[in-house]
Amino acid sequence: MSSTTTTPAGAPRPGAGPGAERHVVEIRDLAVSFATDAGSVRAVDGVDLTVRPGEVLAVVGESGSGKTVTASTILGLLPENATTRGAVVLANKAGTDEHDVVALSPKQLRAVRGTDVAMVFQEPSAVLNPVFTVGWQITEGLRAHGKVSAKEGRARAIEILERVGIPDAAERVDQYPHQFSGGQKQRIVIAMALVLDPGLIVADEPTTALDVTVQAEILDLLRRVRDEFGTAVVLITHNMGVVADLADTVAVMYQGKVVEQAGARELFADPQDEYTKRLLGSVPRIGEATARTAARAAGRPEGWAEATPVVAARDLEITYPGRFRRPGFPAVRGVDLTIRPGEVLGLVGESGSGKSTIGRAIAGLTPVTGGSLSVLGVEMNGARPREVRPVRSRIGFVFQDPSSTFNPLLTIADGVAEPLIVQGRARDLRAARARVDELLEAVQLPRAYGDRYPHELSGGQRQRASLARGLALEPELLIADEPTSALDVSVQARVLELFAELQAELGFACLFISHDLAVVDLLADRIAVLYRGQVVEEGTGEHVLGAPQDPYTQRLLASLPVPDPVQQAERRVELARLRSLD
């Protein structure tokens, strides 16, 4: 531990001496309510939490459990319509001064923010101002808390950038945010938080917007923040893998209350609260579904492998047109894929790997620019709209974002009936209603939900209704583009289960697109790993995830944090070994 070189006051780790009983922040009986159009809503209800110096506290829970609101109170960042009760006692890093954030005036709050506590946000590209250099933005915090000469500020910025792992910091300090990658931007945001050497950093879903390989690097950095800077971290996340990787202690929040708080190892090994057990139980793990996949493969009829594939791509290329006189951007470069009848193909890759583009091309939403793509016997390369239309009634599509998959002005029944009406199976909603009710029941939604509007349903319910719409025409092929990535784990588990049941029952072929290896492994018969527009590895889940051959797949797999602190510590070593090979 090299903390003595950088932090003059010293930052004892938990249990490392008399300083251990000191708290950087102590939340006592915190309650927060918001004034909304529908009256007051209580978001946090009597929360007690403490964070010791140099400790990583993970606050986990579903959306709406109050974890972000709790963390925002530490910085006094609540919106105007919030009412707060209780105390949030924040100490400075040296432990010489204390404030109750709830009672501070705006001016006093400004003095505390940055010096005693800093924040790292979810979306790094939205946090950095695009018109200023990163160096300027880092020194802005220094300027806000005292006079700093331009030269000195620059030197401090370069130093902090080096310490968060930005190569060539002396040159890059003058660059603008768009010149950095997503992971580097998050490093810069962390540097901004660290530059005033606060005792506590609040990180709100710091890796959710990042790819899994980049996520692993940022988690490493946050670990170094704790060890080298001696800074305590409050980590808000819904990803149990991230918790297992980084946290020292974990607080589980549910309906505005902390239901369980324990050390990370104890919590994962022996959860006490019912809710915690259920939360941990719904996290998908790799290898869970191997037996099911094998059983499905054994149950295939004779000659199934030789049947005409539903989708056959040969050397598929999709290039997005560039701006005037600029070359286009090749999103998909020479992909070979087949999906046979009744088969689930999982397509995995990072953002920008072209996985969604392939799904959209199969549905005819994005034009194919090269190679061959045959969907249900129709060649999509150069196909006219008239030729594509009959294919559409045989394809279903489930979209990623549950908040916008339904027209907000139409009822759920209207939305689900839409394909039936458009394809002429029913004249109007009344004629289609019987079939709509049937579909809603198939996805385990009560019929009465058909008369509700999309905003009156929760995210998971909307995704189920979206599945009902996708299945309305009894498609031979269903394309599911990240259908669960916007959902909480517990909701995700339900939707995935339902999906597997319906697939087994109705027997449609499916292209299941996801960035989450564990989710794909749960459902898919075969998995294709996509990297920069090319398929780098393809095979059964057992094959691709059990014994990956391609170095990219190996790295992807090793980067995926597993919800088990002990196992994750071993995997971290393995990942470090893989990285050193590059």
């Binding site: 309650a31 309510s33 004034a35 909304t36 159009d37 529908a38 009256g39 007051s40 809503v41 209580r42 978001a43 209800d45 579903e62 959306s63 709406g64 459990s65 109050g66 972000t68 319509n81 009412t83 009760r85 549910y254 309906q255 505005g256 719904s282 959209r360 939403l365 559409r392 009634s393 599509f397 979209f399 990623q400 974002d401 549950p402 916008s404 998959t405 339904f406 027209n407 907000p408 002005l409 139409l410 839409e418 394909p419 458009v422 385990q444 009560p446 009465a448 349903l457 929760s458 995210g459 998971g460 719409r469 309305a472 025409l473 916007a486 959902l487 909480d488 517990s490 909701v491 339900r494």
Partner: protein, 359 residues
């Protein structure tokens, strides 16, 4: 599944009346915003009532110069016979102000009706299809923007009626010249919304199931892109009054014998102001200011209330309210709203309900 079990889970759907644009805004408003909206609605309401009931309310006709026995006389000070005095031309000021409201209301209606349909149509087509049609339309609309609207109105007035005109000639001249200026505004607003909505997942969903373009445009795009229209309509209404008044003031308005018009009266009152005759200019001017103020207040309030970030709410002094159940994991069945942590929608009753539905 009976509806009674559903009732507590979901507040009853408000009636059509309370979902109408202005009415729903009024119900949401509190404090200063409510005051602004109510004040605007009251002023606008008085303006409209006066316009409709002008023949009843006005003591004399707009072009009346004499009673059966005697002429009114020019520039008479306010008196029992003429509450607001008479103009230099010998008209009764009060009657002219009241009748003027009718003219102004007609111009607003004609201008908005003429521009809203065309503006929405080309905005929808342009935004939805994009490509070269879009580029041409945008350039044309930008060019119209660059043109001073009053100059355009003067040209239209000359073309339609040779400068001086009858009631409908004047109204059409004012309304059509305003239309030309308004169409680009509706076009811009609708196009921006359409371009945004075109990328929403439900449009893709409609395309995937093979919906024809016209159905997507009308059913999915258009209905979702009219949010900002009430605001633009109110702002344009006040601009229409100002343009009409400007035309009248410059002498391109409506002849006093054809209709009453505030701008014309103001023009004729210029000389009076310096000679101490205040009533001829004050009241038509006040009428213009009040009408524009009322409509603008309504428009501004609608704008603030439509945006949740600008809308003020009654904050409670104490921490209050119930914790909205984010998740009720009966049978591992969890209900969570992912869109807005501030406004969770799920509750236990629904989940009970849901199990019943499955049974």
């Amino acid at each position: 599944m009976s509806d009674t079990t559903l009732a507590p889970a979901l507040p009853p759907r408000p009636s059509l009346w309370s979902r109408l644009p202005v009415v729903s805004h009024l119900r949401q408003s509190v404090g200063l915003q409510r005051f602004m909206l109510v004040a605007g609605l009251v002023i606008t309401g008085i303006f409209l009532v006066v316009a409709v009931l002008a023949p009843v309310l006005a003591p004399y006709g707009y072009s009346q110069l004499r009673t059966e026995t005697a002429a009114f006389g020019a520039q008479q000070a306010p008196s029992g016979d003429h509450w607001l005095g008479t103009t230099v031309g010998g008209y009764d000021v009060l009657s002219r102000v009241i009748w003027g409201a009718q003219t102004a209301a007609l111009v607003i209606v004609v201008a908005i009706v003429a521009s809203i349909f065309l503006g929405i149509l080309i905005g929808l087509v342009s935004g939805y299809f994009g490509g070269w049609i879009d580029r041409v339309l945008v350039v044309v609309c930008d060019a119209i923007y660059a043109f001073p609207s009053l100059l355009l109105a003067i040209l239209a007035a000359i073309v339609i009626s040779g400068g001086k005109s009858s009631l409908w000639g004047g109204i059409l001249a004012a309304a059509l010249s305003i239309t030309v200026v308004f169409i680009p505004q509706y076009f811009r607003v609708i196009r921006a919304e359409v371009v945004r909505i075109k990328t929403e997942a439900y449009i893709d969903a409609a395309r995937v199931i093979g919906s024809p373009h016209r159905r997507i445009m009308v059913r999915h795009v258009l209905r979702n892109s009219t949010r900002t229209l009430p605001l633009i309509v109110t702002l344009n209404a006040s601009e229409a009054i100002l343009t009409l008044a400007g035309l009248g003031f410059l002498g391109f308005g409506i002849e006093p014998t054809a209709a009453a018009e505030w701008g014309y009266d103001l023009n004729k009152a210029i000389a009076d102001v310096s000679s101490g005759i205040w009533w001829t200019a004050l009241f038509p001017g006040l009428a213009i200011v009040l009408a524009v103020l009322g409509i603008t207040l309504v428009g501004e309030s609608l704008n603030d209330l439509a945006d949740p970030r600008l809308r003020s709410r009654r904050a409670s002094k104490q921490v209050a309210g119930d914790v909205a159940s984010t998740s009720v994991a009966v049978q591992g069945n969890v209900v969570v709203d992912v869109t807005d942590p501030g406004a969770p929608v799920a509750d236990p009753v629904r989940d009970v309900d849901e199990r019943e539905g499955r049974a």
